[in-house]
Amino acid sequence: MSEYTRDEMMTVAAARLLRDGQVCFVGIGLPSAACNLARLTHAPELVLIYESGTIGTRPTVLPLSIGDGELAETATCVIPLPDIFSDYLQAGRIDIGFLGAAQIDRFGNLNSTVIGSYDKPKTRLPGAGGATEIAAHARQVFVVMKASPRSFVKKIDFQTSGGHFPGRPQSGARGAGPAVLVTDVGILKPHGESGEFTLSAVYPGIPADEARAAIGWPLAVLPELDTCAPPTAAELEVLRALEARTAAAHREPVRLPL
């Protein structure tokens, strides 16, 4: 077995959570890498939807933006964005939504709006985008974030997207909320009545204490803690080839259209 990075472990761990045939609402970055890794390994019929309106994309390289031409060219169809949100997400046709954020609390509530107050923010973040309704309506949400005490906090400054917030079952949200939180220091799952994220699996060579140190709330740890299998040679080969193709494609110089 080869050496691998923590990012690779995270990506592989996230990819393994996906089942063939599931319909995924994919964001750029690690979720996109994980979904395409899954599609190229154990889940060839995984359906990838990007909010730009591309359904069933099978990109050969990873997109740099949510609306890359590659996504359109390899899609089953490209539809208007309003239809993606109304007829697919709101309609309950998305199995898995991926989310990340600037801040997360122990119940999986996410902040991607502001640090500080809303009216006089210390840092204005990009905002909700698709996150609010993905959090509500995807059957399950997978949150993927690198852990740090600054981002895994006791109290988020603004609730952009709901996790296991009080009253969720009566709120009109179609989905079950965050089912898993994949970090670079282990995998957390909601536990008990409150749905508090609890360490449920560690990665090889990363002890639970490292997770405790990286997470800003007093981290609960399952008594029977799993250890993820390290990335297989096959997984690493496919992932690295995908990333190499991506890097090569994006190295090609773009000329000014003049």
Partner: protein, 282 residues
Amino acid sequence: MTEFLPLKDAIAKHVADGDCLALEGFTHLIPFAAGHELIRQGRKDLHLARMTPDLVYDQLIGVGAARKLTFSWGGNPGVGSLHRLRDAVENGWPCALEIDEHSHAAMAVGYRAGAARLPFGMLRGYIGTDLPARNPRIRHVTCPYTGENIATVPAVNPDVTILHAQRADRHGNVAIDGIVGAAREAALAAAKLLVTVEQIVDELPPAMNNIVLPAFTVTAVSQVPGGAWPSYAHGHYARDNDFYLRWDAIARDRGGFTAWIDRHVRATRDHRGFLASLREAA
């Protein structure tokens, strides 16, 4: 009848200070050339609507052209912050910017309601979020059948929507190929629709069910090759991801931003001049 005008004339004739403008295009076909022309002509006091403000609105906000922003995601895609947007919101530089913030799903139904000339759109949305507490424009109606509480947003009806598209024919019919985002809805929601295109052709490629904006919905067409750069025009040129990265450095600093705008936008005559000035600088 659709007018065929140089971009400069189209903006001069159809966009006024104080207008509500939507420059749409989701990653793809962002009308940058039109945004630059708005800067050259010194339009101000604009209410800018756009799902993803992107660099085009970072530039308009940075020169102080905007008084209000209706949006749902304001970042540099794949890179990070829009520094001019942040500076306006965090520090009021160069002027205060009123924020009308939504989610993508809500902006989409706002445009769709606008296109249908309904006064509001509705969604099962804004659940588990602080946004409605911060935006009084987010309200609710009661379903007259089930009694459910459904979130609403006001229709978005820009005075002018500006799009970039691959092709128009000589009647003024405009065809968009590839990722369309909410371009169709924003186009039909507007009182006036200006479109910059890569090409004007005798006949559009056969595309029975594709996205076409019929001529009678199009106020003016301006041929501006490369008009979506640094975003892209499917089939014409690719997205300049490098420039999106470089923008982070350019826009991080007020002085650097202003110098860039002065040199490349204000000191150039048109989009061709803009692109040429970038090539020289490279």
